[in-house]
Symmetry: none
Subunit: 147 residues, 2 copies
């Protein structure tokens, strides 16, 4: 599989590290992603992680605007000020820094959530709650996938 799918919850160890699930790591290898671009998500209290191409895409979006405009500055504040490159160690683990903890509420466990071209890091109860709300909203609207 070449997309990030499903979700996995794993524990943070005593040194503040967490193993990135192997299903996600194998996708990273397939896509030849050496270093993760992680940013504070625009919509959810989660960290989104993907390849450097994600950042490139955002920057192209900024470049299309007037660099002095408030909108371009706000966008940069989010993707540059709210983003960081993170490397995995030789065992495929990443450090859970305060940058991640403060924004997500993550304390001792991380839920990794696949989002096709990227994946996210969630505080487990927050994910359960938001996912349930999303399911409920969809049910109320009576939406069905158009096949």
């Amino acid at each position: 599989m070449n997309r990030f799918l499903s979700n996995v919850t794993s524990k943070i160890d005593a040194k503040g590290r967490v193993s990135v699930p192997s299903v996600f790591r194998s996708v990273l290898i397939q896509r030849n992603i050496q270093e993760l671009y992680c940013f504070q998500d625009f919509v959810f209290p989660a960290i989104s992680a993907g390849g450097p191409d994600l950042l490139d895409r955002f920057e192209r979006q900024i470049a299309a605007e007037d660099p002095f405009s408030p909108e371009a500055n706000e966008m940069s504040l989010l993707i540059h000020g709210g983003g960081v490159f993170i490397k995995l160690d030789s065992e495929g683990r990443m450090m859970v820094t305060d940058f991640i903890r403060d924004f997500t509420g993550i304390v001792s466990e991380v839920t990794f959530v696949g989002r096709a071209d990227h994946f996210q890091l969630w505080h487990p109860p927050a994910f359960a709650e938001v996912q349930a709300a999303a399911r409920e909203g969809r049910r109320l609207r009576g939406t069905r996938p158009t096949v």
Copy 2:
């Protein structure tokens, strides 16, 4: 990485100094920036800091206009009158002067914010507030990254 990314908050010591985060210092070395050009940001209540090339770019922009135009005068007032060169000490720390404090509201802590080709110094609560507002604005406008 060759860009300024992410944000880090650190304390000002008893002598009024603050350590520039090592992630930013390594970018400064890569770009061969010896001395920081710091100016009062045009958009946010923050000090922007980058290499001398930043100032050069601004000056070229002025030179392209009629030197007696109100725009050129305003611009010079901002980048010359509102700018200063600052050196780091041998440990990579900088003095937090009143020039910085008065404009930003910084008191005892500084949030360093990466902005790709430069970085900024913020009063921590101000940054949290403005970044959250930027995120909210984006969410309301319904903007999504163009895939």
